[in-house]
């Protein structure tokens, strides 16, 4: 088993402004992101040989890509919950790595604001709101499904709830600071700890600012063979590791699952590190875009991905380790907190930031000499989920 390492490169990316794009349809967002990516890669639509589109609610089949008028090429729509955008990128990368095509397009798009609600529509229990379901699953919201983690984390590590809330608030404050430096972010405002802890409770202990926004957005990547990458640009970004890891409801069915970690995160990141040759993620990774759908999950991800020792994320948060000035900046673009979470777009939006960071083009958020970046999504919830973990670098 060979793995994806250094077989493909990303040579162009585009990302729309995320937010309440009332005046733009799915077609507008796709065209906006794709043409930025085409321009960035120096190609035109006719150069694309295959395409993947990731969306959960905003389109059925790859005909969703019809606004791009790509000329009768193989195209596929993929869906893998919150990892949908990353799944589209995986399809494109695997096709190029397999030698089936030389230039592939990965598109992620979602217009969550079309659903008429301030959240992801339907109950968060996987599979309970689709055609053919018996409808007996609990009807709780996505924030509640992550509140289980916070409740249990505070319990297991003896963190008084009020202290725990202030701890989680630091994550929201950090991400909002980063988002304030990003013109593409939905929310570009700073927050204070007091604002976060005093916000209305959504699912105790998670308040409004512990939850990510609800946005529209699209992001696109142009993928080619690593050995052809320099034909497109001097600073291609090479894919080092790319893993999707899917649970089978073990955590929801077995008492051995502790609700203070996500097994899919641990296994998925471990595989991606092995594939990429990462030995010590805390030292080797320069920047990470992780799935901060809810503040508690970003905190648990620190531990699951090996950035913090198990049970000791608190120390790293309090030391500022994951801020722009820290030794491992996390969610440098503002994260889901500031971009919201248009499901199909998020994974590729994260990659857009890592791509720009590794090219030294991240503007006021630019880190010093990053060389390895990571994107991470978790779909589903504690108990069962879909984890994507992708590692990219600016050197082959």
């Amino acid at each position: 088993m060979d793995g994806i390492r250094d077989k493909v490169a990303i040579v162009g990316m585009g990302c729309t402004k995320f937010g309440e794009r009332w005046d733009k349809g799915v077609e507008d967002l796709i065209v906006e992101a794709a043409y930025e990516a085409f321009d960035d890669a120096g190609i035109g639509p006719k150069d694309v040989q295959a395409a993947w589109i990731g969306t959960v609610f905003s389109g059925i089949s790859a005909i969703t890509l019809s606004p791009l008028q790509l000329p009768y090429i193989p195209m596929t729509r993929v869906e893998n919950m919150c990892a949908t955008g990353s799944e589209a990128l995986r399809g494109a990368c695997y096709a190029v790595a397999a030698g089936i095509c030389d230039i592939a397009l990965a598109v992620g798009v979602e217009k969550l604001k079309e659903s008429g609600t301030t959240g992801v529509k339907g109950p968060s229990v996987v599979g309970d709101n689709q055609e053919g379901s018996s409808g007996i699953g609990p009807g709780y919201s996505a924030p509640a499904s992550f509140a289980y983690l916070a409740t249990r984390y505070f319990h297991d590590y003896n963190i008084p709830p009020e202290e725990g809330k202030r701890l989680l608030a630091q994550i929201a404050v950090k991400n909002h600071h980063n988002g304030s430096l990003n013109p593409k972010a939905h929310f570009q405002n700073e927050l204070t700890i007091e604002q976060v802890v005093n916000a209305p409770i959504i699912a105790w202990p998670l308040g409004l600012f512990d939850c990510c926004g609800v946005s529209d957005g699209a992001s696109v990547a142009v993928v080619t063979r690593a050995d052809m990458a320099k034909n497109f640009r001097d600073d291609p970004i090479y894919v080092k590791g790319m893993q999707i890891t899917v649970g089978a409801r073990q955590g929801a069915m077995e008492q051995s699952y502790d609700f203070v970690h996500i097994e899919e995160n641990v296994i998925g990141s471990g595989r991606a590190y092995a594939e990429a040759g990462v030995k010590d993620p805390r030292k080797d990774i320069s920047c990470a875009e992780v799935h901060d759908c809810f503040s508690i999950h970003e905190m648990i991800v620190y531990e699951d991905l090996g950035f913090s020792k198990r049970g000791r994320a608190r120390e790293d948060i309090e030391a500022g380790s994951f801020t722009l000035e820290g030794d491992l900046p996390v969610n440098t673009d503002g994260g889901l907190k500031c971009f919201g979470h248009p499901l199909g777009a998020s994974g590729l939006r994260m990659m857009y930031e890592v791509y720009k960071q590794l090219q030294g083009k991240a503007g006021p958020r630019q880190l010093k000499n990053p060389h390895l970046g990571l994107t991470h999504n978790l779909g589903g919830n504690a108990g069962t989920g879909v984890c994507s973990c992708i590692i990219v670098g600016n050197e082959k």
Binding site: N129, G135, G137, Y140, Y257
Partner: protein
């Protein structure tokens, strides 16, 4: 001879103070409280709870189940069949609904007694449940309560023999409701008392005494139905009943629970009596049924079971707004959430054992009990991956502990916020499900819970029932 072999009762834990109702309407309070079914309860769920309570500790396996009610959730579709499947009775169980009369529970009781005496049934459960509605500002808004009771009729290990009975019917229109009515209609109280209730009750009681050559002095306890506390007292006065012998009607704390009311009172009476003592038991509605019930030596076993009177205590007070919402009597602002997909009838049929009695499976290879929280079939073991090597495993009667929980302000519910939990069963297995009947400040990691059959929601004409966890008694 046929008799009562077991009794179960169920009352919701919610109480609405009658002063609260009176305050809203600047009217007069009848005093006390009424029991109100939770937002996720109805006649079926309460009947299930009472039936399960009746079956606890009983060695007899029922071959018949009747449900008596005037408030069945379906106009066409049998409630008793739902209760029988949820309480996991065998397929050959004879099921029947007895309805359209406040006397439905004693009519069902008589049918059960006849069946057992005739030898065509061995053990018949008669469950009665009602959640009747009185219109705003009326007497019945205050007097009616929600509740359920169940009795098993059999001939072995009888705790109270049915020595005799006497019935009359009476086509009298005192309380009624048409297919189009939400609320019960009634007429002038003096007319009801003087022409209907009082003479009918007197007639059935004297008919019973004549038939069996007994006197009132032969009874240690008199248990009888009335529409409310005032009417109950009026009969005692008219018949000069010995106050010491009259069974408390619980109308002060619970209210009139309709078809369940006579059985609830009888259950409470049985709790106090000694072997060989007799009860005069009378139910009313479109006539009256009177019974002679004699306590046997086996009463001890029933009296050792948890106390009926304890179960009648309410724990959570509610306000009038909650009452209106739960009873669906007020138009709430529509949710902006998109509607859920239609419930799939084929998958509900395939998953019927999960939905009805919370059946999961236990792996025969590794012994792991397991259940899928959305009901899907388990074909491959979550623990050892053995395929199709399972035995059915019932979770509904298993106790558990709350491993983690989430109190959700966004969850669509008639009693916000939504409470949800990860339940670890004491004998193995886990489910993530909704919680109900919680006092929010008492919800904590490690809280002991038990499973309760509730209504998840109503969608396109279907009552979506499933199990929730609630704090253990």
């Amino acid at each position: 001879m046929a008799g009562i072999t077991s009794i179960g009762v169920y009352l919701p834990i919610y109480r609405l103070n009658r002063d609260e109702i009176a305050k809203v309407w600047t009217g007069r309070s009848a005093g006390g409280t009424k029991a109100v079914a939770g937002y996720d309860e109805d006649t079926i769920t309460m009947a299930v709870a009472a039936t399960l309570d009746c079956l606890v500790g009983s060695e007899a396996s029922p071959d018949g189940l009747s449900l008596a009610t005037t408030t069945a959730p379906y106009r066409e579709k049998q409630s008793a069949a739902i209760v029988a499947s949820v309480t996991d009775l065998p397929q050959e169980t004879r099921t029947a609904d007895f309805t359209n009369s406040l006397r439905a529970s004693t009519i069902a009781l008589k049918a059960a007694i006849d069946a057992v005496n005739a030898g065509s049934a061995r053990n018949v459960v008669v469950a009665a449940a009602d959640c009747r509605l009185g219109a705003a500002r009326g007497t019945m808004e205050q007097s009616l309560g929600d509740g359920a009771a169940a009795m098993m009729i059999g001939s072995d290990n009888v705790i109270a023999e049915i020595e005799g009975s006497y019935s009359i019917f009476n086509d009298f229109t005192d309380y009624w409701r048409t297919a189009d009515d939400t609320y019960i209609r009634t007429t002038e109280q003096r007319f009801i008392d003087e022409v209907g209730y009082l003479p009918t009750m007197q007639e059935v009681i004297s008919g019973l005494l004549d038939k069996y050559k007994l006197e009132m002095a032969d009874f240690s306890k008199i248990v009888y139905y009335a529409a409310d506390a005032r009417q109950h007292a009026a009969l005692a006065l008219r018949m000069k009943l010995d106050k010491e012998k009259v069974q408390d009607n619980f109308y002060q704390s619970v209210g009139n629970t309709g078809t369940a009311a006579p059985l609830l009172m009888l259950a409470a009476a049985l709790e106090k009596l000694k072997p060989d003592e007799r009860i005069l038991f009378v139910a009313y509605g479109d006539g009256a049924d009177a019974f002679i019930i004699k306590i046997t030596e086996n009463i001890q076993k029933f009296q050792n079971k948890s106390k009926i009177t304890d179960k009648l205590t309410g724990k959570i007070p509610i306000n009038y707004g909650q009452y209106l919402t739960w009873k669906d009597l007020v138009a709430m602002e529509a949710s902006t959430l998109p509607e859920r997909s239609a419930l799939s009838m084929p998958s509900r049929w395939r998953e019927r054992r999960v939905i009805a009695a919370l059946y999961g499976v236990r792996c025969k290879n590794c012994g792991t009990p397991q259940i899928n929280q959305i009901g899907q079939a388990i074909r491959v073991c979550v623990n050892c991956q053995a395929k199709d090597d399972f035995e059915p495993y019932k979770f509904s009667d298993k106790k558990g502990k709350l491993f983690s929980y989430a109190i959700d302000q966004l969850q669509p519910t008639q009693n916000p916020p939504g409470v949800n939990g990860v339940i670890d069963f004491d004998e193995g297995g886990r489910i993530i499900c909704e919680l109900t009947d919680c006092e929010l400040d008492k919800v904590a990691v490690g809280m002991p819970v038990e499973m309760t059959f509730r209504k998840m929601f109503y969608s396109r004409g279907i009552n979506n029932y499933f199990w929730k966890a609630k704090p253990a008694d």
